[in-house]
């Protein structure tokens, strides 16, 4: 199993214990997870993600077999395409983008351009709905959640582009999924880090209605307990217990194939 939703580096609004690559490697081993896709947390809040990407590549280099870099690309920043090419050169499976933190709304032309450029280069586009629960956010954290409208727009942008969305809840997932064509749905994946389990059983309901193959394993470490995603799978009712999630390696492979075809 691969955890697609992990980050390293400090969080600006509260203390997070040891958000370090060497700790993440130990956590993955303890949780019997094979690898992780790793972003650089501070980059979501810096104006220019370029220095954060350099730090990410350096920090993960000693753990190349386990931790795969997912650099941040800000498409309204000059020469952003260079960061995308760097990601390809570094064999990154995906790139992260944070439109709410950059003030880029649904339909933003630069985000569409990023989605197209990801499709052309065989990179998966990784989006994050939120970092923290709305009820506990700092007064400085005014970006708001990534909207369903923004995700739908990007999912419709380029038939080559694969998108993974992290930290979404049931309502937003359904609003996006059922607002897309089957072809568009097939290129969009959701991590399970923020979906409720029993007694509401949102995860089970989504597996039944959308299919478990639309979901990937993600924990939102180091902001959330790494045990959350596994616990949610273990508590599934019997009719969906053991359901198979999408394999991130295959998502990345399909993205590369789509780019080369």
């Amino acid at each position: 199993m691969i955890d697609v939703n992990t980050l390293v580096g400090p969080y600006p609004y509260r203390y997070v214990p040891h958000p370090d690559p060497e700790i993440l490697v130990r956590v993955l081993e303890r949780e019997a997870l094979r690898a992780a896709w790793v972003g650089h947390l501070p980059s979501a809040f810096w104006r220019d993600p370029t220095p954060g990407n350099a730090m990410l590549y350096t920090a993960l280099a000693p753990f190349a077999g386990t931790l795969r870099p997912v650099p941040t690309v800000r498409p309204d920043w000059p020469r952003w395409e260079r960061a995308l090419d760097d990601a390809v050169a570094a064999a990154a499976p995906a790139v992260r983008a944070y439109p709410p933190q950059w003030g880029l709304g649904a339909g933003d032309p630069s985000m569409r351009a990023l989605a197209q450029a990801c499709g052309a280069r065989g990179l998966t586009l990784f989006l994050t709905v939120r970092f923290e629960d709305l009820r506990q956010r700092s007064r400085l954290d005014v970006a708001g959640d990534l909207t369903a409208a923004a995700i739908r727009d990007l999912a419709r942008t380029d038939p080559r582009t694969r998108i993974i969305v992290a930290a979404a809840g049931r309502d937003l997932i359904e609003e996006v999924h059922w607002g897309l064509t089957p072809d568009e749905q097939s290129r969009l994946f959701w991590d399970i880090s923020w979906i409720w389990g029993p007694p509401e059983d949102h995860l089970a309901k989504l597996f039944r209605t959308m299919g478990s193959e639309r979901f990937v394993y993600g924990t939102h470490w180091p902001l959330r307990l790494v045990q959350g995603a596994k616990a949610n799978l273990e508590l599934l009712p019997s009719d969906v217990a053991g359901a198979t999630l999408a394999n991130p390696d295959e998502i990345a492979r399909d993205a590369r194939l789509a780019a080369s075809s």
């Binding site: 509260r14 203390y15 997070v16 214990p17 303890r30 923290e132 629960d133 009820r135 506990q136 409720w196 389990g197 029993p198 007694p199 509401e200 059983d201 995860l203 470490w221 180091p222 902001l223 959330r224 307990l225 790494v226 045990q227 959350g228 596994k230 616990a231 949610n232 273990e234 508590l235 009712p237 019997s238 217990a241």
Partner: protein, 294 residues
């Protein structure tokens, strides 16, 4: 014929096979406005059985907004909810215990409901967000709870910086004021993972020995459990789920890997509950292994 709500996948519970008391649970009923109410209750039992929950200490919050607001239930809805909870206790005597829910704005009614439901087996009092915790209106309720040895579970917002819609929420500072006026009362501050800034709660109640916390809520921030144990201690921390049981299981697993000694972990899982609830509340009621510090 086996009970279909008791789901057993043939293995030991996901948590260690020792008593496990969920001190913050809820059940639904037919007049709560949801047609899937029975499925919700069944799912709680299913997940509880899988995890190894030995007792759900639960409340019904009126009609959950259907006939009156969840956090401001009318007296009629309070009775309706408590009756549903009493019926569930009768139906599930091995694994369900009850908080009697009250609205302190209707003080005489609240006192009457506590008397009525305790006579039928209620083991604690549940307060929502109908009135601020430090309001003097709560004093007769707190006095009665303390006199009867009933812990009082109080809905809380972790660091309430303003009024949120649909509730008159309280935070750790306000609960601490109520607790200071009622030193014999065990006041259980609800769901440190249930919204707001849990770090503020730790500071607000660290030196108030009769305020305990439950760890429930959808929030599973890394660092939250460690900080609570450091500030409040395992003797005043109780495991619970509220409405997200997967986060309860995640917290159990986290408690096991953050270095808490086994006897301290047992306090969180059941020992503290056995200490603060009336004697004999739980089938596996044994005295906790360490002295009562709360």
């Amino acid at each position: 014929m086996s009970d279909p709500r008791r789901q057993d996948r043939g293995a030991s519970p996901l948590a260690a096979p020792v008593p496990l008391v969920d001190v913050h649970a809820h059940f639904w009923h037919a007049r709560a406005g949801r047609t899937d109410w029975q499925a919700l209750n069944d799912a709680r039992f299913r997940a509880g059985d899988m995890m190894g929950v030995t007792c759900h200490v639960a409340s019904v919050l009126g009609t959950y907004g259907f006939a009156s607001p969840t956090y401001f239930p009318s007296p009629a809805d309070v009775v309706l909810g408590n009756d549903a909870m009493l019926a569930l206790c009768d139906a599930e005597p091995d694994r369900v215990r009850m908080y009697v829910t009250v609205n302190p704005n209707h003080t005489a009614h609240a006192i009457g409901e506590i008397e009525r439901c305790v006579a039928r087996g209620a083991v604690g009092v549940k307060l929502l967000a109908s009135r601020r915790a430090d309001d003097r209106l709560l004093d007769p309720i707190a006095e009665l709870a303390a006199e009867r040895g009933l812990p009082m579970l109080h809905h809380a917002w972790q660091h309430r910086r303003h009024d949120w819609p649909a509730q008159e929420a309280s935070d750790g500072v306000e609960l601490a004021r109520l607790a200071a006026r009622h030193p014999r009362l065990h006041l259980l501050l609800a769901h440190i993972g249930g919204g707001g800034d849990w770090a503020h709660t730790n500071a607000a109640i660290a030196d108030v020995p009769n305020v305990l916390v439950d760890v429930s809520g959808s929030g599973i921030d890394r660092g939250m459990l460690d900080a609570a144990l450091d500030a409040i201690g395992p003797e005043r921390t109780l495991w619970a789920c509220d409405v997200t049981m997967e986060t309860g299981l995640a917290k159990l697993r986290a408690l096991e890997v953050i270095g808490l000694e086994p006897e301290k972990l047992d306090l969180v899982k059941w020992g503290n509950a056995a200490r603060i609830f009336p004697p004999g509340t739980f089938a596996a009621d044994r005295r906790p292994p360490t002295a009562d510090r709360a």
